[in-house]
Amino acid sequence: MTARRGALGMRLITEPEDVEFVLRQTDYLFGKTPELLQYQGMLLAGSVLNLDGEDHFQRRRIEARVFTSDRLAYYENEVLEPYLDAAVADLAREAERTGGTPSVDLVAVVRRALVGVVAAVIGLDGVDSPEAVAQLDAILEALNQGVKVDFRTDGTKEAKMEEVLARRAEFVDRFFGPSLARRQALVKAHIADPEGNPPPAPDLLTVLASNPDHVQRWDEGLPLREATLFAQASIGTTTRGVCHTVVELERWLEQHPEDRARLTDPEFLGRAFAESLRLHAIDPALQRKAWQDVTLPSGEQIPKDEILGVDIGASGRDTSLFGADANLFNPHRQRPESLDAHGHSFGGGSHKCTGFNFVVGDRYRADRQGTAKTILLRLYSLGIRLDPERPPVRDHGTVKDDLRAVPVIFSALRGARSVVG
């Protein structure tokens, strides 16, 4: 059998059972390959994304405090909702000003709504004015682009990275540096006098400051790189998933107008979001390196040290898993419970995305429906639809399946009220 080859000449793993096996055996038979992504390494070296084995487990254990069930409920209900209110208020003001239904870029709207969540998850102070929110939003967009620079094909890698590093310096000066210093002081004060100084909230910077023995095994730049990862992860999946969902649903509703009545149904929107991520995989392929000679479930032999590309795009569209119409969007798709409806967009095994429940919700808690459904419900309550005059713009300068802009209009903005206002 001739192995399929992907970018960089890597063997592509496409059989669903092999994909599942490699992802589940990461940390055991396979490791991560951070050395392959030069620019990403500048931003994320040593972050939990790129660790293996015991280091990876210990980092996950430390950072689990940031993502407890109660913390997720806090981010979703007490941080995201007010930011959504503010985003709606901005849109409503624009509608009043123009006397119509303004066309806005959904990518920017969703990202702006998530700025507060990023600040709360990482532990960034000073995000307390429209000007600060706008500045952090611009920084986060740059960092998000920076993490994906290695995938660009339009010859802009170096120029983009220069801009990203300038934005990162701005991030350190304005937000990250002062916030880390304050948390280090809070942790120190709590240790010195636990009764007089209550423990600070377990955001990322606080849990890192609380575990110096672990963090000091890397260089002093590690907290910044970990914060960069959390910033990108907190915004990236939800933003691209929500945007793809709105685009896919628009086409679906043209053919299935009876489903318009379901746009207030969180379960329906959750299914639509899952379908969108399944079809628009977060990465073309996830790289893994064999730590020893391995025989995959399909019988394919992988020699020690070979680097593989796990083709999660192919596995997400596999007809044996998702049916004969696997290439099509269908929010009513039936699937076995054991199959993640999102495909492998959140990875799998020990490297399954820490924020999976953050995005998709918690079936055991009625107050946690996840960031994606929360945002989609709000958007559809405002009558969102694609701008008929301006189609979505795909980012053709990357191998990633990314949307650069999604112009939308809202038919029910007038009368929308905000608690932030």
Binding site: R61, A64, R65
Partner: protein, 70 residues
């Protein structure tokens, strides 16, 4: 009757990270099929803290614990 903790693993949701077995090897094991299994259905209340950590570490929320006050 003393309080105890009921432990359940949803095999359909478990992705075999093995985090639970690393946090509490006396309560969980990763089966050859690649999913976690509980070694006891009920654990004493003294295990509550470690079980809460196992539950929160699981990225797919496949672990569910419930305090049974007896």
């Amino acid at each position: 009757m003393r309080a105890r903790v009921r432990i359940q693993v949803d095999a359909a949701r478990c992705e075999g990270t093995g985090f639970c077995a690393r946090v509490a090897p006396h309560l969980f094991v990763v089966a050859p099929a690649g999913t976690s299994q509980v070694l006891v259905e009920y654990a004493p209340e003294t295990e509550l803290e470690v079980l809460q950590e196992a539950e929160e570490l699981c990225p797919t929320r496949a672990i569910r614990i419930e305090l049974d006050q007896g």
